[in-house]
Symmetry: C2
Subunit: 353 residues, 2 copies
């Protein structure tokens, strides 16, 4: 099934979207692409000699409307039915595409995905989920801010969703799961964290989860677990704090090598090693956050994505789709018995897009 790309979303669209697709086409030559956006802008980009192979597996769905970066989500939702973003999401809903990737307005993308897809049967609330680098390889973090608060049952469902994400994108059979908490002896963490801990302990065998209990902030980058589960407020702060710290150190490294003539000379020699490190921690490689828990796959690419970053978001979307992440979530949610009794999923039958 083709993948839907919102070709008009993001600061460098549509060029970055086409460039990302060119890279994705090299890696997944069989994959087809549906570009949603302005045909007059897209056609020359896709017919350019660098995109020749891609052109043969691509189709453009023309629209002149797009969601503005500063649009209010509720307004975009009501008035944006013909935007490139919305039409791309509709294509997933109507099973004309396996997933959508957009670098556009986050709030609008979340609102539209929620309304069009609905939540998966049994899921209370969707979460935002991404990969990040650790000492022991990549790990998964959720929620990054879909909801600022999370009950014990929400955290339990996030654990199941994170488990499915890690299996799909990282190819792990039994990802290690951890609940983010504080380790001070005085303060044992919020009640709902203790409750979530207990539910996970009770259900881990039945569900085949590899639950490792609580983890602390410094254990995120240590890679103690493959999936770090937390509420959206804490997850958002933790991810951004880690990103800020990495940028700070990068800047200090640059300063250190510019601090004296001798240091500048040493830079010439050390450049190779330092650039290897820079490549390893390139934030573009960690681009692509999934709105997980919805009855369809939406991957958010960073608004400032270039082609290389957008390619990584496409890769995440394709891995999620091909590994049928949503089917896995539904199975585990049903097994767990922790699900909404009324089920506000799109059809309530467990059928997924």
């Amino acid at each position: 099934m083709p993948i839907a790309l919102d070709a008009m979303g993001g600061d460098h669209a549509p060029e970055s979207v086409v460039r990302g697709a060119v890279l994705a086409h090299k890696r997944y030559p069989e994959q087809r692409f549906l570009f949603f956006g302005d045909q007059r802008e897209l056609e020359p980009l896709l017919q350019h000699h660098t995109a020749r192979g891609l052109w043969n597996v691509s189709e453009i769905v023309h629209t002149e409307e797009k969601v503005a970066n500063d649009a209010v989500p509720s307004v975009a939702l009501r008035q944006g039915k013909n935007t490139s973003m919305r039409l791309a999401i509709d294509a997933v809903k109507e099973k004309r595409a396996c997933a959508v990737v957009s670098a556009g307005n986050t709030g609008a993308l979340m609102a539209m995905s929620k309304v069009v897809y609905k939540t998966l049967p049994g899921i209370y609330r969707p979460a935002i989920c991404t990969l990040f680098p650790t000492l022991r390889g990549d790990s998964v973090l959720l929620d990054l801010g879909a909801n600022i608060e999370a009950s014990a049952d929400d955290l339990f469902q996030y654990a199941i969703m994170g488990d499915a994400f890690a299996r799909a994108v990282l190819g792990l059979e039994h990802p290690k799961l951890g609940l983010l908490n504080v380790g001070s002896e005085d303060i044992k963490g919020h009640d709902h964290l203790r409750d979530a801990h207990q539910v996970l302990r009770e259900k881990e065998k039945e569900l085949g989860l590899n639950f490792r209990g609580f983890v602390e902030g410094h254990e995120i980058a240590e890679g103690k677990v493959d999936v770090v589960v937390t509420d959206g407020f804490t997850g958002n702060v933790a991810l951004k704090t880690a990103e800020g710290t990495a940028l700070m150190i990068r800047s200090f490294i640059r300063d250190a090598f510019m601090s004296s003539f001798l240091a500048k000379i040493s830079w010439v020699v050390a450049r190779r090693a330092i650039n290897g490190l820079k490549k390893k921690l390139d934030p573009r490689k960690y681009n692509g956050a999934m709105f997980i828990g919805l009855n369809g796959i939406t991957v958010k690419s960073h608004g400032r994505s270039d082609g290389y970053a957008f390619y990584h978001a496409i890769k995440v979307a394709l891995e999620l789709a091909s590994h049928r992440v949503n089917e896995k979530i539904i199975e585990e949610i049903q097994l767990s018995g922790i699900a909404q009794s009324n089920g506000n999923g799109s059809n309530g039958t467990g059928k997924v897009a």
Copy 2:
């Protein structure tokens, strides 16, 4: 007034405590030191030729009891009245010392300090407060976990306390204050954060605060503000996440220079620059967290402190004492009108140790 040192607390005590005091004596030659601990262990250390200058300004208060690292705080509180930690805290309470520094059991130190000092008049709850490195110099972060939850009024009081801490330790006249929040458009942050924002806006002029509104996780390391105010859960996660990320990158730098023969050669040349960076981010320089909001100054040194780390904790304590941090907090709390009506401070008169 002398400073009280719990000479028996911490993994490397009493050697690390004496070594830290030797360094502090060099920097503050007029300062007197009260060592609480086993005289038979302390005397040889203090009479060693490396401590000769220190010996002249030191006094030992002998006790054979100490708080175990794994002691339960409530038990230490009841049964530990003759421990080195408790006697050192009592000395501050009784105005025989200006502040106490301990690398011992955190929970016990917090519990004893609370019970002996009581909270400052008008303060609801104490917080834990420390310095951390940013792109624009050092900043202050609180709460780090004294309380996992914080109301709007607590956050407002933390802002006042962080402001006083920054003025004392960083020597800033008008520290920039920020409330930690998430920036997603969908989720505008907890209600109590918005309420705290409003109170700070209302009171900033009257109190002479330099309030800069909300900050996000990545802005912590950017040094956008001098004081980052948050609840103890989020602060604990943010600080530990930043520490973990810094350690991860340090490990990656080491790997990068060990990755090949050529890289190893380049290390010989680059070592100087990298070691300069290592020195700049040395976590020992950021050792020393204050239990702020109590009617006496307690500074917690890391349990694994060596002498150099312990010296930095002493430095924090002396700066806080000499800049009369608690007097400043009381003044602002009284001005703000946001204070407990009954005042559970130790005396309720605004007099502080």
